[in-house]
């Protein structure tokens, strides 16, 4: 368990959290509230939503949340209301790689077999600070077994400290690096020819698109010699298929994110590491697993029992619904969140008058916070479901208090890995005060709006029973243990794994192909059904079918790169006010190279003003030898503006106030790097 999980109990009893619905009584943002009943809150919301729908149409209310189980209920409510505009935080976080993986593999959520990997190239995916426990465990296990890990990161992260080698690559240079790597794999014929022939399509077109991206041509972009990248590529290929290029997370370094992450996805395919030990693999759903096994191994619970509503016919504000368009690879439940605020301000392509969010804090997470605040103030209706009066919620008309994760039951969720499984969150204590979980909030609201038929459950237990109706025993076991897993791990191209699987499920023999592999697993949800090394749809939409190198110019000559990352003791921007976690880290000093600091006469703790083309922030400095001379680094999620978050208020600097609200091609991500100037204050 991480520090954040361990601090849940501290959040539970935090006197600062909301325990009743509150309604704004003063101007937006001035912090005057009154407690109201749920009934009053619902009535207000219902009345306002009806007025907006009548005046501007349902499409003019946008719905947004963090991704997770709550999203199911918010989205259902949105569609029932009639708005196509649903969003999650994706474009400020993982959209770069999920869109790239969708383009290549037809699936945005492919898993990495970290623990069996023998050679790993990592571009700033700091699994030891942006913590997912299973990733941290996996990488540690691999290292224990002697795996080689190369960390390419402009700053010396915890992951870099555990790596075999840290290469302080230039910010934005990673795209050029990957182009050169793909070039080397192809033109030195280091790729897995059999795999490419059997499972992929578009190789020749890919080859044509990268022919000019020799390591020599690219080297000037990343401060690593052409020879070094050839060596690294050869070494990676030597260990193939038990080697990988990690596709990262919060992958939003540059506007060329799509090319970078696609190059990574393609490199993995060229290494032939799909469905092998130490490579990438597709999560095995119960249905697929049972089919392969030729017997009923895992129960097939329903993912959601909510009736599938038709997507409202109105066009979305972010254009992702244009068929085969540039942004069409972005999931419909994801969208391009950061476009909402421009749509509010500019009323283009049409006006957004209302915003409904569940546990999302765009003032901290969407670029150009000033613009976000201005937009929030302009809304006719802004409802926020939150645990605290966050930086964003402080501009709401009504805040509905959500139960924390220790106080709420949730539906059964799929937890598919090499073999299928489920998990379920169950409350440890009764909710404090009058807080409610999302399944209840949206159910009650739907009833008031007359959308009962879209929410056919009485409570979460009813929901769960309907999910697993045919498997009462399995439901019981799952609830007892919290998680369950069925069968044995399967990697569809790993000899050892296949042998064990076939031994255990003899019927599965019939499903092996002539190479004695389960090629069924590698049937992709792409148009061709294969792994697409060249994307015909993107080629038509914006000429990005193959890989193209467009120099992602991130700063001017006289500026620093400003980059950021996650820290292990906080979850993005929403744990800084939890007392225990705040004690561990309350501020984010900006890393600056020791030599540069000496030159500028900056000592630890000195204040600097950081200015970008969008805004400026005051920050304290941390001179260190662990960063490039042209780069500044800060942990993100600090610099809170809500006075109700009293211990976190105004501590540290907020990166979102410096970043420009750009939308990058295809991936639609908000770019998290910008050129800045600094001066001592």
């Amino acid at each position: 368990m991480c520090a954040r999980g361990g601090s849940g109990v501290n959040q539970l009893f935090d006197p600062n959290r909301l325990v009743n619905p509150i309604m704004r009584t003063g101007e937006k943002g001035d912090g005057k509230w009154k407690e109201i009943s749920w009934e009053e809150a619902y009535n207000y919301i219902v009345q306002k939503l009806s007025v907006i729908k009548e005046k501007y149409g349902a499409k003019s209310v946008a719905f947004a949340s963090k991704s997770g189980p709550e999203q199911t209920f918010l989205n259902q409510f949105a569609y029932a209301y009639g708005s196509p505009n649903i969003f999650d935080h994706g474009n400020t976080c993982p959209s770069g790689y999920s869109v790239a993986l969708t383009s290549v593999f037809g699936n945005g959520s492919i898993s990495r077999d970290f623990s069996n990997c023998k050679f790993m190239l990592n571009f700033g995916h700091n699994v030891y600070e942006g913590m997912v426990i299973s990733y941290a465990r996996g990488v540690t296990q691999a290292l224990e077994k002697g795996a080689k890990l190369i960390s390419l990161d402009p700053r010396f992260s915890v992951l870099s400290s555990k790596a075999s080698e840290w290469i302080p690559i230039r910010p934005g240079g990673d795209t050029a690096f990957m182009m050169a790597m793909v070039h080397t794999l192809i033109f030195e014929e280091l790729y897995d020819k059999k795999f490419v022939e059997k499972y992929t399509i578009g190789f020749e077109k890919l080859k044509e698109s990268v022919k000019n991206y020799t390591p020599e041509a690219m080297a000037k972009e990343y401060d690593i010699s052409a020879e070094r990248i050839r060596e690294l590529t050869r070494e990676c290929a030597k260990y193939a298929p038990h080697s990988m290029v990690d596709f990262g997370h919060r992958a939003t370094f540059s506007p060329e994110e799509i090319e970078f992450r696609r190059a990574i996805a393609i490199a993995n395919a060229l290494l032939g590491n799909i469905e092998t030990k130490g490579g990438l693999y597709f999560p095995k759903s119960p249905a697929l697993y049972n089919k392969l096994a030729g017997e009923h191994v895992a129960p097939e619970f329903k993912g959601s029992i909510l009736p599938k509503l038709e997507i409202p016919q109105e066009p979305r504000i972010d254009l992702i619904d244009i068929k085969d368009g540039e942004f069409s690879k972005i999931s419909k439940t994801r969208g391009i969140y950061s476009k909402v605020f421009k749509a509010i301000l500019e009323e283009k392509p049409y006006a957004i008058k209302g915003l409904f969010i569940t546990r999302s804090n765009p003032v901290m997470t969407v670029n150009d916070s000033n613009e976000v605040v201005e937009a929030l103030k302009k809304l006719d209706l802004f409802i926020s479901v939150d645990v605290y009066v966050s930086d964003t919620s402080q501009y709401a008309d009504i805040i509905l208090p959500e139960s924390t994760y220790l106080e709420r039951d949730e539906q059964f969720l799929a937890k598919n890995g090499k073999n299928p499984g489920y998990e379920v969150r169950q409350k440890a204590v009764e909710p404090i005060g009058n807080t409610k979980p999302s399944w209840q909030i949206y159910l009650e609201l739907a009833k008031k709006m007359g959308y009962e038929s879209a929410f056919p459950y009485t409570d979460i237990e009813d929901f769960r029973i309907k999910q697993g109706y045919n498997y009462p025993n399995e439901m019981f076991k799952l609830k007892e243990k919290g998680m369950s897993s069925y069968g044995i791990p399967l990697l569809a191209r790993d000899k050892e794994s296949i042998k064990k699987f076939v031994e255990k499920y003899p019927n599965s023999k019939a499903n092996l192909d002539s190479d004695r592999e389960f090629s069924e697993v590698l049937k992709c949800k792409t148009k061709s059904g294969k792994i697409e090394l060249f994307d015909e749809a993107l080629e038509k939409a914006c000429g990005r079918g193959g890989l193209t190198y467009n120099n992602p110019k991130l700063k001017n000559e006289d500026e620093f790169y400003f980059i950021q990352g996650k820290v292990a003791v906080h979850t993005n921007g929403h744990t800084m006010n939890i007392p225990w976690l705040n004690t561990l880290m309350s501020d984010n000093a900006v890393w600056i190279n020791q030599k540069v600091a000496d030159k500028l006469k900056l000592k630890k703790g000195d204040k600097i003003k950081i200015t970008s083309k969008v805004g400026s922030q005051i920050a304290s400095v941390l001179p260190t030898i662990g960063i490039r001379e042209d780069t500044l680094f800060a942990y993100f999620g600090f610099g809170h503006t809500s006075k109700k978050q009293d211990i976190a208020y105004n501590k540290g600097m907020s990166a979102s106030h410096l970043l420009e609200n750009t939308i990058s091609p295809v991936a639609g991500n908000n770019v998290h790097t910008i050129g800045v100037k600094i001066e001592k204050v």
């Binding site: 368990m1 991480c2 520090a3 361990g6 109990v9 465990r137 840290w166 292990a568 004690t583 260190t624």
Partner: protein
């Protein structure tokens, strides 16, 4: 039985999961710590750098200065090798706080009695057989066991890894063993 712990710095990632687990398990007052992990560094010559991840908690010495100086026998070592405090016998002289060469004790502001790590003797260890910090560590950087039991995991770990103890020149013989970083120099 002789309880001991290993902190494998090579595996530790400084995530503070342990310090929070300790706080939660043992109701440590806000602002105080029985256990801290400090990230120290980076050291080295760019780009060949390393961090040290230094655990700061009671070292469970064999030769215990804190017990030796205690005038009332409030500080004592129990039958399992755990250095502990009997609050009922404590007169608040704070000799033990000063005597500890590892600076592992703080004075609990509510009770005015010195407090420190006792391997979760009355809490997690009692219930689950290991301290809370060990149970939560995401990278298994903490290993807990019995030095008198050759089958204890701590035994084979110590047999196979190079380890050091802190301030060995003082002769305190800590039962907190540290597996140092392979990378870079060792500073203890």
């Amino acid at each position: 039985m002789k309880y001991a712990m290993i902190h494998d710095m090579e595996k530790c990632i400084g995530c503070q999961g342990c310090t929070i687990a300790c706080r939660s398990e043992n109701a440590i007052p806000d602002g105080y710590f029985r256990l801290k992990v400090k990230m120290d560094g980076p050291h080295g010559e760019f780009p060949n750098l390393n961090f040290n991840y230094v655990r700061h908690s009671c070292e469970m010495c064999e030769h215990t200065p804190c017990v030796t100086v205690c005038p009332t026998h409030a500080s004592f070592m129990d039958e399992n090798g755990i250095v502990d405090i009997n609050a009922n016998l404590c007169v608040g002289c704070l000799y033990c706080v000063v005597a500890c060469p590892y600076n592992a004790r703080y004075v609990n502001p509510k009770t005015n009695v010195p407090d420190k790590c006792n391997f979760c003797k009355h809490t997690h260890l009692k219930q689950y057989g290991e301290p809370a910090c060990v149970a939560v560590c995401p990278t298994d950087a903490l290993i807990f066991g019995d030095l008198d039991d050759p089958l204890s995991p701590i035994f084979s770990y110590l047999a196979n890894k190079p380890f050091v103890t802190n301030k060995p020149h003082l002769g305190t013989k800590p039962k907190l063993f540290v597996v140092p970083n392979k990378k870079g120099g060792i500073k203890l």
